[in-house]
């Protein structure tokens, strides 16, 4: 004959799951922020390599590199952008300079630094984001 066994802790589990659900967007944003930071560092490192020894480099392009705050798009995807903003001291858009360096022009040899940065940092970013999510979930579950 089957025996009924008592299982305790459902109330706590329900509370934890509820907290997880409420905090999931914030956890996701933290993870994305951390990942985007790692990617930005790799982009910066590649950019410095490209500009090393250049007599024309002013540092304006590197200064304009940044990460947007993490947000949620209309499809519910949490994201942040790593990119360039503003204009250099001569009034040239930094995005244009970055694009010319990345893709080249008929007059300028390409020196890709963003796509290779994504390739190189991808695994590190994924691990860091996974770790952040695990840490944040553990905090909630322990509470």
């Amino acid at each position: 004959m089957a025996k009924m066994q008592s299982i305790y802790g459902f109330t706590e589990l329900e509370k934890q799951l509820s907290s997880l659900s409420q905090g999931s967007i914030e956890i996701g944003k933290r993870a994305v922020r951390r990942g985007a930071g790692i990617l930005a560092d790799q982009v910066r490192a590649n950019l410095r390599k490209n500009l090393a020894g250049s007599e024309y480099s002013t540092g304006d392009l590197e200064e304009s590199l940044g990460v947007t705050p993490a947000g949620v798009d209309k499809n519910g995807v949490i994201n942040a952008k790593v990119g360039f903003d503003g204009y250099d001291r001569k009034g040239v858009p930094n995005q244009l300079k970055a694009r010319a360096m990345e893709s080249g022009t008929s007059r300028q040899r390409k020196r890709p630094f963003i796509r290779p940065a994504v390739n190189k940092a991808k695994q590190k970013v994924e691990k860091a984001m996974e770790q952040t999510i695990d840490e944040e979930i553990s905090k909630i579950v322990k509470e």
């Binding site: 694009r99 893709s103 080249g104 022009t105 390409k110 890709p112 796509r115 290779p116 390739n119 991808k122």
Partner: protein, 105 residues
């Protein structure tokens, strides 16, 4: 497909083909370059399959240039993974610049 295979495939299309960079061109031309590693495969602490990523650039002054399609068809026929990464118009030179990213194993 090897990198030499990419070169040979592009040489068959028609316009002059250059590796890494071309200067002093006034007509249409193609430039290709390998530049980084894609999603390679690893097993047992070894790299088992290396994926090389690179770009193909086509510079043309012809609007709706059919060679753009020819390049894409040639990549498809050779089973090469690719995507059109950007299209830019150079106001000062009049060049339309198509850029594809490819991957070969």
């Amino acid at each position: 497909m090897t990198l030499q295979g990419i070169r040979d495939l592009l040489l068959n299309i028609g316009p002059p083909v250059f590796h890494y960079f071309a200067s002093g061109q006034t007509s249409n031309y193609i430039v290709w370059a390998e530049d980084s590693e894609g999603d390679s495969l690893h097993a047992d602490g070894r790299k088992t399959e290396q994926v090389t990523q690179g770009t193909i650039d086509y510079f043309t002054k012809t609007e709706f240039d059919p060679i753009k399609e020819q390049i894409q068809n040639a990549l498809n026929d050779a089973d090469i993974v690719w995507r059109l990464n950007s299209v830019q118009y150079e106001k000062d030179t009049g060049y339309i610049h198509y850029e594809w990213v490819f991957e070969v194993v």
